[in-house]
């Protein structure tokens, strides 16, 4: 509840009161009927738009014209972010030769047989060699770091990159199990372990938004 009210700080003043009233009425309604608070918005579509452009600029800052750099989207949810960044680089900054690959890490995970639901694999599409290239991993949410650890192993099947960086839209800091940190971050959030961060993309979920789910 308190976090919800705090989120209001980012909105402009005219909407703040009515929005808080709205949140308050939902809260009263849900408490009356015994339903726990579930979903709150962390980033709106406009905020995501601004962040993506910033991330694209940061990539250009470090990689110039992407001559020796390849982007690798981590399946399944990192693909949307990666494709969006490539589109921004092409359309707004005139960098057209960006190489993008899709990497599936299912077979490299260290929690095979330790999860309740079986893992489902996705397609890996990397039609170039990463040998001596600068690789940028792209994923939507960085949580425990285990996916990235698996990706670090998986990418070795395609050669030995000269270096690997990590770009994430949401960095859930304080929840890492491994010493892995992002090089480019969209937004850092502090959420407790029971809460989930869900990223929606217009290509798949009708609109861009980042939510925090509270079970």
């Amino acid at each position: 509840m308190i976090e919800n009210l705090c989120l209001g700080k980012r909105k402009n003043k005219s909407t703040k009161f009515s929005e808080n009233l709205n949140v308050l009425s939902i809260f009263v309604f849900q408490t009356m009927f015994g339903i726990p608070m579930s979903k709150k918005i962390l980033l709106s579509s406009k905020e995501i738009h601004i962040i993506l452009h910033r991330l694209a600029c940061q990539l250009i800052e470090n990689h110039n014209n992407f001559e020796n750099t390849v982007l690798i989207g981590i399946q399944p949810r990192g693909i949307f972010l990666a494709e969006r960044l490539v589109a921004i680089l092409q359309n707004d900054y005139d960098i057209s030769n960006v190489k993008l690959g899709h990497l599936d890490i299912t077979f490299y995970r260290d929690d095979f047989r330790r999860r309740e639901a079986p893992l489902e694999a996705n397609k890996t599409i990397i039609d170039f060699i990463v040998e001596d290239k600068n690789v940028v991993f792209i994923d939507d949410v960085l949580f425990s770091g285990r996916s990235i650890r698996a990706a670090l192993t998986a990418i070795q099947s395609f050669g030995r990159p000269s270096d690997i960086e990590l770009l994430v839209l949401i960095d859930r800091r304080f929840s890492r199990h491994l010493p892995i940190q992002p090089d480019y971050t969209g937004r850092q959030v502090d959420v407790i372990n029971e809460e989930k961060v869900i990223v929606h993309w217009v290509e798949k979920d009708t609109k861009d938004a980042v939510y925090i789910l509270n079970n």
């Binding site: 299912t106 490299y108 095979f112 047989r113 639901a117 079986p118 694999a121 996705n122 397609k123 070795q156």
Partner: protein, 309 residues
């Protein structure tokens, strides 16, 4: 669906269409893996697999072993010819002795029908049938259907003829189950003595004329004449068999369409299939072998997924 409906792969008879779709979908990913420069994934590094081969095999054994190694499993091999089976040990004793060395999955080929079924009820491990007598050879049927799907886009609605020694063939029975499950039309063709009496009850039709059968089909799966399983003569001579049921270039060229030729191997060149057909562009025999590794990786991966940590 992301899990198999069965605990062991004993035969195609025990699985359903959704299982086949899941195995094919998983095999697609593994096919991509085995075409990389580093063809290995670490998924099964804490799994141990025993390959028990009580009957001779080259292709299937190598294919299973390669599939297991590409998944990073630990592999132990056993062949009956160099083992204590010769000293009179029973199947359950052999299996339990191997299991006490902490083995998770057993891949078994055995000359007796139902050996895998029997073993699955008595030992605590996942069992994969790599061929039991004249009964079933499920991974072969899966890779055959997978190869048809790869070549023709789909299995449903296609006309498939299985040619040759249907009576002694586990490949034929598993293929019939698999193809029917996926909605293909199946015909069997061969000498009357090598076609089982009630085969039509499985929903297949019979054709004794090879030319007519080939004219009808999109794919011909040609089986080996299994001399080692024949105690009596089922046909007068190999030469006569080759003349009446052998597939050669002349016969294929006389058809008005280009059909696909498959063979589970090993080939008796010049008997059921001539060399110019086996090596032609219509034959997908070597694709079958490549797909075999991907299919076996998928089957083992999906079964291993069910093992409790």
């Amino acid at each position: 669906m992301s899990q198999l409906s069965v605990q062991h792969l004993l035969g195609i008879k025990h699985i359903n269409k959704a299982d086949i779709d899941l195995i094919f979908k998983t095999a697609d990913h593994f096919k991509e893996v085995i075409n990389r420069s580093i063809k290995k994934v670490p998924s099964l590094r804490d799994i141990t697999i025993a390959n028990l081969f009580f009957e001779n095999s080259t292709r299937t054994k190598l294919s299973f072993e390669l599939a297991e190694k590409r998944l990073s499993a630990d592999v132990i091999n056993f062949s009956a010819s160099q083992s204590s089976v010769k000293k009179g040990e029973t199947l359950i004793d052999t299996a339990n002795n191997i299991l006490s060395m902490k083995v998770d999955i057993i891949v078994m080929r055995h000359p007796n029908v139902g050996a895998c079924d029997f073993l699955s009820k008595h030992v605590n491990a996942k069992i994969v049938n790599a061929g039991d007598g004249t009964h079933e050879h499920p991974t072969q049927a899966l890779l055959d259907s997978y190869s048809i799907r790869e070549k023709l886009g789909n299995v449903a609605g296609k006309n498939i003829v299985i040619v040759g020694d249907i009576l002694h063939s586990r490949v034929a029975l598993s293929n019939i189950y698999a193809l029917k499950l996926q909605g293909a039309h199946v015909k069997v063709c061969g000498p009357k003595t090598l076609i089982p009496k009630y085969i039509e009850s499985l929903g297949v039709s019979i054709e004794y004329d090879i030319k007519k059968a080939l004219e009808w089909c999109d794919v011909a799966n040609v089986l080996r004449v299994q001399n080692e399983r024949m105690e009596i003569n089922y046909f007068p001579s190999t030469r006569e068999y080759a003349q009446l049921f052998g597939i050669n270039k002349k016969l294929l060229d006389s058809l008005d369409k280009k059909i696909t030729i498959m063979h589970p191997g090993p080939i008796n060149r010049g008997v059921e299939i001539s060399s110019d057909v086996a090596d032609s562009d219509q034959s997908i025999i070597l694709n079958q072998v490549e797909n075999g590794v991907a299919i076996r990786m998928a089957v083992i991966y999906l079964l291993a997924q069910q093992i409790q940590q």
